[in-house]
Assembly symmetry: C2
Homo-oligomer: 498 residues x 2
């Protein structure tokens, strides 16, 4: 990296050197020459190159980090984070800094997120946002119109805090068909599975408590933990499922209050556990008397293989709280999810919901009950599953063709995400940056770890790209990975977790 | 209260006496002879009357309390709480009880709420639910239809986590017209002001912290405090506004992190503070460096008097976070509120929202932006305000005609609620029970206190009753209050806070 530094002399005063370095790096980020995920030169190396004190470079990097342009992690290097768009300057006051510890922790966590904004024209293999081109907009629009025709002003009233009974019954019917013995009184509607995660965590754990989580896991579940002041007890994923010995050890700790798990179409791995594994998870939880939060957010997106009973369906002990959602299988804009729970758990979830936002939007719940109960959702699902099967096959074919030896990937039977392990000693964050420059967006694995540690994993999504785009995107990714594998800087021996 | 007790003898075994007492009380509740709020005889008196040991009566009351039928508070007596409907028995398991402390605290708090279900046919002067008969359903239905016509699948996507920019701009325009210098970047949409309360509390306070609140205050704000593990520092309402000396003392305590206040159309009192009081509140907050959460949930419901600038409009220091809502002035079923905040507060609120539920329902936000931005909301408001002025006048006239000496009430310039102080030494909880029996629902004041202490205040609402119903309801209430004032049991000298 070249810099053009002016030295201050009596004749020509210049800005401090650290400021010049910082400004030139910021300029490169603004012009797109450096993109999020790019690693800056090590402080020692750049100081030597420029003939300046190490503290000078260090100060430049620290100021860039304070401005949010880079992300500096001790012992791991300094990475470009990108410039977040700020539309217009906001009014500010001296008290802006008086935030709670929880809010500060969350702001810090959010700063570690990848910002994909720079890759607007790249092929999107990064996000689990369902494809708007596949939304059954007309059918739902008609269901909304019917709801307004058939119900008067009551449609715009507060409604039942547990959620519209008609939609709870629709959920209960689907659950019974899949083997869970519940009625509508066991269903609490919520704002997508994401609100379900926050409510379920608060159901079992107080600030300072610990919750067992799979690693890697859904990054918004990590955000919920951070925001609630909860600590993680990591249960590593091994061969695509939670390691049972680690789970047993975690749940044996008295401070661990619950286990959050995604047994079906795991996020980010795409894998599912089998019946024997699920029974073992429940046996371990039961032995330790600890509840299980089963995130089933993609439960309706199976396109291959045979269904496995959910933890909720297998649970005999009132151990499990299950989270469901229409966000991935239908569309997220209705913010419609559900929590399935038993006995006092239902009362407590309602009390938590009351103290949070008093419930969801009734008109959309009524329209969904009509749309789903009338069969339109199932018709949409079978179209969607066919498309996803084709995309998943295209992804598998492309990965086989393009990825070098030493890489491996999961074979999901449903859901949007596939997990790609890069060849050993390759950091997914660096590959992400190369890939972004090459015109393809992928989700680097470090975001799925609570501590943001380096990862050789990438999450690939088939949600937004069709078969041709998938083939092209993976070809671009393959080129980037091959180049990095062949580069002399590779295998510089940094330890990378597997 | 009469009881028919069978004594066990060798010839005829009977149920234990405490069980017979409990069952007979429960029977009276089931048959509606005892209604929520009724006071049971003191233990000592009933034991003497029945010729049984005090422990026997005490055990009966305790079992009724455990079953949720009565509410026993040490030193305050035992009150009927009512039977909560349970549709069908839920599946239950042994782990049901493993709840977080926060969830247990909330369940306990919810048990203290009044259940109004028994008064379905009574005149509703208790609730702040806007009248569905006044909802502009057709206009909003058309706005929803236009949103679907004009936007495709994107309307059902995730959208901006801060909320639809068009609706944020509509809010900002209205705020600027009322003197607050903000743009759409300072507005964060949320699920009604209630979610705003929970998010704003989390912005400034962590579990174990203290927040200054007015007493009495909105009972769902109390629920939010309880759920988040926050402690209250009470700032008593004096002549309808927060007592400034008490506020100064509260904010001087280092553990107090913020002040939650409802300066306009206070809930439950209906009063508003004047400009001088607001400036003093801001000066006190500024002196102590503590932020202010201004709940402006009924901000558009002024029907008399002159508008006073909001705390947000007066704030020069970035001290204030303001909560807005369409729930009372339009309809609650769209769950549409907003938080106005500055600088880092906005970033932190977004991070908290992301960790809570990822944002609201885009189709309703787009339709609201159209409906409100196009002028239909203002047309609705002027109709609604006229109706409310008429109802408020009817309430004032009825109170003057029906209430005995020693009672007094507030004169709101807007909003739905009026606060009635009953004659001294009268407990609003007992009057509530009498009134329910007489066919009118009112909200007893103890619910607006964190500790649920007795109160001689009643909250009366004009939201759901028209002028004739208000006149009839207050006539019924007046009769009940007169009877109680004339009864020999009155003025038995229990101290009641004012």
């Amino acid at each position: 990296m070249e810099f053009d530094l002016a030295r201050t002399s009596a004749a020509s005063p210049a800005a401090p050197v650290h400021q010049q370095i910082a400004e030139q790096i910021r300029g490169r980020v603004e012009r797109g020459e450096l993109v999020p995920g790019d690693r800056l030169p090590p402080i020692r190396a750049l100081a030597r190159q420029l003939g300046v004190n190490r503290d000078t470079v260090s100060t430049a990097y620290e100021n860039l980090a304070a401005a949010g342009v880079v992300d500096a992690r001790v012992g791991r290097g300094t990475f470009v984070r990108g410039l977040r768009p700020r539309p217009t300057p906001r009014l500010a006051g001296p008290l802006e800094t008086s935030l709670s510890e929880g809010a500060e922790r969350l702001l810090d966590f959010e700063r570690g997120r990848v910002h994909y904004g720079a890759g607007r024209d790249a092929i999107p293999l990064h996000a689990l946002k369902p494809d708007p081109a596949l939304f059954p907009v007309d059918g739902f629009r008609r269901a909304v119109a019917r709801a307004f025709q058939e119900q008067g002003g009551e449609l715009l009233g507060y409604g039942d805090p547990q959620g519209y009974a008609g939609l709870r019954e629709v959920w209960a019917e689907r659950l019974r068909a899949a083997g869970t013995r519940v009625g509508p009184e066991s269903v609490v509607l919520c704002q997508g599975a994401s609100q379900g995660i926050a409510l379920a965590l608060r159901l079992f754990a107080d600030s300072g408590d610990t919750v067992a989580i799979e690693e890697p896991t859904y990054h918004n579940a990590l955000a919920a933990l951070v925001g609630l002041g909860l600590r993680p007890a990591a249960v590593p994923m091994r061969r695509g499922v939670a390691d049972l010995d680690a789970l047993d050890a975690a749940l044996s700790r008295p401070e661990v209050r619950a286990f959050y798990t995604i047994p079906t179409f795991h996020n980010p791995m795409g894998t599912s556990s089998d019946l024997a594994h699920r029974e073992e998870v429940l046996a371990i939880a039961s032995r330790h008397g600890k509840p299980v939060i089963e995130d089933a957010y993609e439960m309706d997106l199976r396109f291959a293989g045979r269904p496995v009973p959910s933890l909720m369906a297998l649970d005999e002990d009132g151990l499990v709280v299950q989270l469901l959602s229409f966000s991935k299988s239908l569309f997220p804009g209705v913010r419609s999810g559900a929590i399935v729970a038993r006995g006092r758990h239902v009362d407590a979830l309602l009390a938590l919901r009351n103290a949070t936002d008093l419930g969801g939007a009734l008109p959309l719940q009524v329209a969904l009950a009509d749309f789903v109960g009338g069969g339109a959702y199932d018709r949409h699902l079978s179209r969607l599953r066919r498309r996803m099967k084709a995309r998943s096959d295209a992804l598998g074919t492309a990965l086989s063709a393009e990825m070098p030896n030493g890489s491996r990937w999961t074979r999901p039977e449903g859901g949007y995400q596939t997990w790609l392990d890069l060849p050993e000693a390759m950091d997914a964050r660096e590959v992400f940056a190369d890939a972004l420059r090459a015109g393809v967006l992928v989700a680097p694995g470090f975001q799925f770890h609570f501590d943001g540690r380096p990862s050789r994993g990438l999450r690939l999504s088939i949600a937004l790209a069709d078969e041709d785009e998938i083939a092209l995107g993976i070809a671009r990714l393959g080129r980037v990975v091959h180049e990095r594998a062949a580069s002399p800087g590779h295998a510089r021996g940094r330890a990378i977790e597997v």
